[in-house]
Amino acid sequence: MTELTALTLTDAVEGLRTKRFSAEEITRAHLEAMEGARTLNAFTVETPDRALEMARASDARIARGEGGPLEGAPLGVKDLFSTEGVETTAGSRILQGFKPPYESTVTANLWRDGAVMLGKLNMDEFAMGSSNETSAWGPVANPWRSRGSNASLTPGGSSGGSASAVAADLCLGATASDTGGSIRQPAAFTGTVGIKPTYGRCSRWGMVAFASSLDQAGPITRSVSDAALMLRSMSGHDPKDSTSLPVETPDFTQFVGRDVRGLRVGVPREYRVDGMPAEIEQLWEQGVAWLRDAGCEIVEVSLPHTRYALPAYYIVAPAEASSNLARYDGMRFGYRAGGGTLTEVYENTRAEGFGDEVKRRILIGTYVLSAGFYDAYYLRALKVRRRIADDFDRAWETCDALLTPSTPTAAFALGDKDADPVTMYLNDVFTVPANLAGLPGISVPAGLDANGLPLGLQLVGRALDEGTLFSLAGALEQAAAFRAKPERWWS
């Protein structure tokens, strides 16, 4: 039998349904792979007992002919999602030992549909980072390495554990979250597919908040069909989240493989940023050619406020984060430091419990909301955000989706961008605008760079039009025929 861990989610679910193998078998295969891949540091918690218990329950349901759409499929869960009774830290020391007495809506939806939980995946602390280096539990290694080099590369962030585990065949798919690019950038860096759906498509209930108006859950998988399959289960209106959209979830899988002839694909002029590597530029042109060949109409569009997306994001996100993270105060859960007075306990708890990047963003967020600066920074950022959203609305008059590179570079070495926070922030230059506007975006692996590292292309669509994205992503996937796999240096 082909290696069970190398299957796509779609094929695995089919194999399980037709009883070619059992949920327990495929789960054991993944648990073994996880054990052998601990040097990647992708998982923060492994839950083998729970996984086997869920797998056996899946087998029992399959035997009764009752399986759900993900029945028996072993998945990983980004540690941002609360899992009942299983430590959930969001990559932070301040939540060390925290066991939520509840299950996030997104993961509950997956378990409802029969999926099996393998464990919790490492991530940048509170999802703040683009390299997974801000995790309190150490950075995750990208399974990919530059040709002829042993240097550890970043899998991207903040969903670095998710991307790394999916790329290294440690799970069939993984939940992830995207506030400014945290699904799409790591997917691009690891040769995987990652979709951030429309804001409000997936419930945020039980997902540890970073920036509430931007955070959105989505899957990282090994194929476009897998992403559609997994996102369908994760999505759905949730009355427990006021920002959850009261809409039906389409069967996204039906859109993959659909004819894309006649779809108008926009190429935004302003994404041709200075200093963009030639390889990225070429890949983008290749993507345009693929879609043109598939019958799409290519149109040039303008999103004039694109360059202001990142600075606006770096006000809005830290502002919301500074408030969202106030609850980590050592009083009711998580880490509590010592101190002579209440104030000292607060200050020491948060100084010792949070890492540098989180503290930096809390300070910036606190500053931009403070008296005298609110209008100049925060309010202005919200207005610029509106301008950015308006740009997209105008673009939709002439096109149905946008094609852009996912990232300005391929995966870089761990430790490479430590010196200047802004350099690190620039990683998200192509992904952030969709978050500000609440639009869906998907990254599809499209090729390798000169060093043999994966590169991704991004498609951005209209709100609630993930269907078109899946059709176009399917066309790109087919044309790119990306089959490369990282060498298994870790096991």
Binding site: F98, G206, E320, S323, R327, R332
Partner: protein, 485 residues
């Protein structure tokens, strides 16, 4: 408006008062979570993971609380904002689990309105309402359970509050108390807040400043969380005098938050909260704009009960009551309902007298409300009916009232059983009168030249008949027999 000036060493000072009243919404569940609202449960027994600010927990707004805010806004004749928003007020405190309070700073649900306030003497004045907004309550910190630690109970955390902010329209402690009393009556009539001040379900932040009459507003101090009428008045009086003393000594008032200490009758600075406040308000990204459909607002408007001020006017007109009696009888829904049931078809003024003076007097002496009256309204009405028809005298009625209070039956039953029917039968009374005159010839003689002394004879007959004689009939008989006209 009657201005109560403070006489200082250097001249008179005027007190300027504005109030922020926090009224707990009478809902079953909390403003943003499904945990119960209540009093007296065990610690943390009414707390959800939303109220405790757990990671990933999100707020969803309670429809009933929104409806109560609208209802209260309509009761205050205020502008109802079709669109309002929720903001976060950020600060750290152990009983504030999220690290912020969800409130409405920039776009409150209710805007400007006005409340007509009635003083004890029946005179009225108007207080402007600046706004009413919805917000969450905090939990409770208990400082005396352990010398080294504070104990936190989050039962109250997340409970819905309506913060009702007045204009600085009051000029005396009495008027401030009258405002809170009138507001409380309105809230209770609307059913939007139970007004229980002892349980902290209604509490006031009082903004106090003083100025020379005719001058601009002075610097104010805010006295937090005062929870009784008496304390409101004490706090204001103390604080106003404190400010006058500082100003007269050439000092300046520092704007600050102060606490009223009921034990000492003083206000003092809340030193721990003195550090520069910067609440960093911003729109709560977990919540969307609250948009009210016009139809819903109209539905709520149509459901409003008769409000105390309108009822007070109606009582005065329809029943011919004094302003005072109308005020007392409309201060509570139950009182008004009681009165209207007792007054049906009777002399309403007389019923009002008996209700206000006898029944309410007696109830308040025993610290009971009218709902706990041992005399049902129909029975009190029956008693008044017996007086009206001349069956008993007002004096006898007092005796009957006592027996009714003791639960000895209906008014008519008591009167009949006890033989308290007023004697108007001339034959029976003639005999008594004749007997009395015969026994007191000298007094009978004296009364002819000094007619007002007839009172003694009337008294004697009443005594003789156990108070049952109809005094008017006795009087007429005596006059005839003694030859006075």
């Amino acid at each position: 408006m009657t201005d109560t000036l403070i006489q200082g060493r250097t001249g008179p000072w005027e007190i300027v008062l504005g109030l922020e009243v926090h009224a707990q919404v009478a809902s079953r569940a909390k403003l943003f979570s499904g945990a119960a609202v209540g009093f007296g449960a065990g610690p943390n027994a009414q707390v959800s993971t939303v109220d405790a600010g757990f990671p990933g927990m999100l707020p969803v707004l309670n429809r009933f609380c929104v409806e109560q805010a609208v209802k209260t806004g309509l009761g205050l004749n205020a502008q109802i904002h079709r669109t309002s928003r929720f903001d976060r007020k950020n600060y750290f405190y152990p009983d504030l689990p999220q690290g912020y309070q969800i409130s409405q700073l920039y776009h409150p649900i209710v805007g400007e309105g006005a409340l007509e306030v009635e003083r004890d003497d029946g005179s009225t004045f108007t207080v402007g309402i600046e706004r009413l907004h919805l917000e969450q309550d905090a939990g409770k910190s208990i400082h005396d359970m352990d010398p080294h630690s504070t104990y936190v109970d989050l039962n109250r955390s997340g409970t819905a509050l309506m913060e009702i902010v007045s204009r600085p329209d009051m000029r005396s402690a009495e008027d401030a108390a009258a405002y809170v009393r009138t507001l409380r009556t309105l809230l209770r009539a609307l059913g939007t807040c139970d007004g229980d001040m002892e349980k902290g379900n209604l509490r006031a932040d009082v903004n106090v400043s003083v100025r020379r009459p005719g001058e601009g507003l002075g610097t104010r101090c805010e006295i937090k969380n005062v929870n009784s009428f008496r304390f409101i008045m004490q706090a204001i009086e103390y604080e106003a005098r404190r400010q006058v003393e500082i100003l007269e000594d050439g000092g300046k008032i520092t704007q600050e938050t102060r606490l009223f200490d009921p034990g000492r009758g003083e206000t003092r600075s809340m030193r721990s909260k003195e550090e520069a406040h910067d609440y960093r308000y911003f729109p709560d990204p977990d919540l969307l704009p609250l948009v009210l459909e016009e139809a819903w607002i109209e539905e709520i408007r149509a459901s409003l009960p008769e409000l105390p001020a309108a009822r007070r006017r109606r009582f005065a007109e329809q029943y011919g009551l004094t302003a005072y009696d109308a005020g007392v009888l409309t201060a509570e829904d139950e009182r008004a309902a009681y009165f209207e049931r007792a007054a049906g078809g009777r002399n309403a003024k007389l019923v009002a007298n008996w209700t206000v003076n006898d029944l309410l007097g007696r109830l308040s002496a025993e610290d009971r409300g009218i709902a706990e009256s041992p005399i049902p309204p129909e029975t009190l009405g029956e008693l008044v009916g017996l007086i009206e028809e001349g069956t008993i005298s007002s004096k006898i009625a007092k005796t009957v009232f006592e027996k009714l209070w003791a639960g000895e039956g209906s008014a008519r039953e008591v009167v009949e059983r006890e033989g308290l029917v007023q004697v108007s039968d001339t034959g029976a009374l003639e005999a008594a009168v004749d007997k009395l005159i015969a026994a007191n010839p000298d007094k009978a003689e004296a009364v002819k030249s000094k007619p007002q002394a007839i009172g003694w004879f009337v008294g004697q007959v009443m005594k003789e008949t156990g108070g049952k004689a109809n005094p008017a009939v006795v009087n007429a008989l005596l006059r005839a027999r003694l030859g006075i006209d």
